[in-house]
């Protein structure tokens, strides 16, 4: 599979989102940024496939910011 999944794929999305926000609770900006960086690297390793990682980077970069 070399297509980035952009359809819903997270099991119980609300639980995941709550875990994500909880992980950051009480952290300083720096500690939060560092956590995000580690998380991205861990998830990237899990994905492994360079083509997909490239598509993910492109998708995130081309998204107009919030």
């Amino acid at each position: 599979m070399t297509e980035l999944t952009l359809t819903a794929n997270i099991d119980v999305p609300d639980d995941f989102y709550a875990d994500l926000i909880d992980a950051h609770e009480g952290l300083s900006k720096e500690a939060s940024d560092a956590l995000n960086a580690r998380l991205i690297l861990i998830l990237a390793n899990h994905i492994g496939n360079r083509a997909i990682l490239k598509q993910a980077l492109d998708t995130a970069s081309h998204q107009k910011g919030g």
Partner: protein, 540 residues
């Protein structure tokens, strides 16, 4: 002496002197309900239908003005229907299925509640809370006229309680002065600020959210046609709030809900010209009349235990949630649905009072689910840290183009009924049936050849036999079980088979008076079913 804390929409139970006030000794009643809001009245309907005498005391003479709750969910309406007042609600209410979510100026996505076919009630209706309460009281009056032992005493304020091991003494204030009353059981349905909780010095713990919301119910007088949808804005660019909700109610009334921050001057914000300033920025030139407005702040809190000996709490007095997701009145109605039959069995001496502990365990589970969901919605709508806001905004930005991010957008997860998984009243699942009807689940409705399934279940224990024979009658430990039998001819659309059989050829469900599944198996087995009944009333 009796102040009016709020003005009335309808005066439905004006003060009348009760003979109890002229007694030398306090009169004892089996059940007294403190508070005549939607939950107290729900409690009275449930008990009255069982023939259990109940007295409701409310410190006002009727239903409060102002709509507060507007979204009533399917399960809440099904319970109202079991009490006999669901149909007028359905007729009055506005049915909606489509929701739209906006961020700043643009639409991020829309969702459809996609209701399943074959249910008497839709996923939600919108209706002003005073209508909900009036339909309840209308039904209460009808039951009274048929001889149901329900009494409602307006302008009877409970000022003090004295709790004993086997009864409670109440001090009640009326326009004619004070009197005393005794109750075997006291139900606290006296709302979020519960004076009863304070009298008993019981804690109410959880989170207070640092935000306030300005609600305006308006009647559009122009000829514009807003659709019957739920529209939610994150950071609307009209700038009149950090989030805004627009939702339709009956009588051409719209609910507009602005999130206005914590540090606001309430008095200033409540001035009509200031409310209109926000509305005008939002509605851009549309003409409207103002019907009702209010500022509210909220908390997600609950009591440690909803049972304290002879005193039981239900509704907002027991647990309070944020309004996102419409869980307040909806979950309170599930409280009385759960408590009613248990209290009935205890008052009639059929069950021991430990059955009432399962009211606490089952409904605390429900309250925790509601609090968790409404806290999550609140955290998404009003992120409480910079990092949380960054993620929230990223989700909104991605949701525009990418489907995967949409389930993460949380503008309120709408109330769904609670399944009492793990309750001590459930028997082990005796068949490989559908997940949604496992023991503990609320029975899903289904269209039958004649009418709807739920109208045949509830109020008593029911043995529901599908494609198989049960006994003609069954009694166990003083519980009378009613028989309901259906086969394929009664189920032309196959909904009963789909929802209750799955791949099984037949099924026998034991269903509690609150329409929750207690036990199920493929075929009838007398000994096992008797044990399941005993377990369902806390005797096994």
């Amino acid at each position: 002496m009796l102040d009016e804390r709020y003005s009335l929409a309808y005066e439905l139970y004006p003060y009348e002197r009760s003979p109890d006030q002229d007694n030398d000794t306090a009169k004892r009643h089996p059940v007294v309900v403190m508070g005549g809001g939607p939950i107290g009245i729900g409690m009275a309907l449930d008990l009255g239908l069982q023939g259990i005498p109940v007295v409701v005391l409310d410190d006002h003479a009727g239903v409060g003005m102002g709509s507060r709750a507007i979204c009533f969910a399917k399960r809440c309406l099904e319970i109202a229907d079991r009490y006999g007042c669901g149909e007028p609600m359905l007729e009055k209410g506005v049915v909606w299925n489509l929701g739209k979510v906006f961020h700043k100026d643009h639409k991020v996505f829309e969702f459809n509640l996609l209701p399943e076919d074959g249910h008497k009630f839709p996923a939600f209706i919108n209706m002003q809370q005073p209508y909900f309460e009036s339909f309840q009281i209308e039904r209460l009056r009808e039951l009274q006229s048929q001889g149901a032992p329900i009494e409602i005493r307006g302008q009877n304020r409970v000022d003090g309680v004295n709790v004993h091991d086997d009864h409670v003494v109440l001090e009640v204030m009326t326009p004619d002065g004070p009197y005393k009353l005794e109750a075997d059981w006291l139900i606290g349905a006296d709302g979020a600020n519960s004076p009863l909780r304070n009298m008993l010095d019981l804690e109410f713990t959880g989170k207070v959210f640092q935000d306030s919301f300005l609600i305006a119910d308006i009647k559009i007088t122009d000829d514009v046609d807003f659709p019957t949808e739920r529209w939610f804005w994150f950071e609307p660019s009209h700038g009149s709030g950090a989030s805004t909700l627009l939702h339709k109610q009956p009588d051409d009334v719209w609910r507009v809900d602005f999130q206005i921050g914590w540090d606001v001057d309430r008095k200033e914000e409540m001035k009509e010209e200031n409310i209109r300033r926000r509305l005008d920025a939002f509605l851009g030139g549309v003409k409207y009349d103002m019907v009702w407005s209010s500022i509210y702040t909220f908390q997600c809190k609950r009591m440690d235990s909803f049972r304290n000996g002879r005193v039981l709490f239900a509704g907002d007095s027991a647990h309070q949630v944020s309004p996102f997701g419409a869980r307040g009145a909806n979950s309170g109605m599930q409280d009385v649905d759960n408590l009613g039959w248990k209290l009935g069995l205890v008052v009639n001496g059929v069950a021991d009072d430990n059955l009432l502990d399962t009211y606490n365990s089952e409904r605390a589970h429900g309250a925790d689910e509601n609090i968790m969901n409404s806290t999550r919605s609140t955290d998404f709508i009003t992120p409480k840290s910079a990092q949380s806001r960054i993620f929230r905004d990223a989700v909104l930005a991605l949701a525009n183009d990418h489907e995967f991010a949409r389930p993460l957008v949380n503008s309120g997860r709408l109330s769904v009924p609670c399944t009492y998984d793990g309750s001590s009243l459930n028997s082990a699942d005796g068949m490989a049936g559908p997940e949604r009807t496992r023991p503990g689940s609320p029975c899903p409705d289904a269209h039958l050849k004649d009418g709807f399934l739920l109208n045949q279940l509830g109020n008593e224990f029911v043995l529901f036999c599908i494609n198989t024979e049960g006994p003609t009658e069954l009694q166990e430990c003083g519980v009378n079980v009613r028989m309901v039998s259906l086969s394929a001819v009664d189920d032309p659309k196959g909904a009963v088979a789909e929802r209750y059989l799955g791949d099984a050829p037949s099924a026998v469900y034991l269903i509690r008076p609150d329409q929750h599944v207690a036990a199920r198996r493929e075929t009838y087995n007398e000994n096992l079913v008797r044990a399941e009944i005993r377990r369902a009333i806390g005797k096994e």
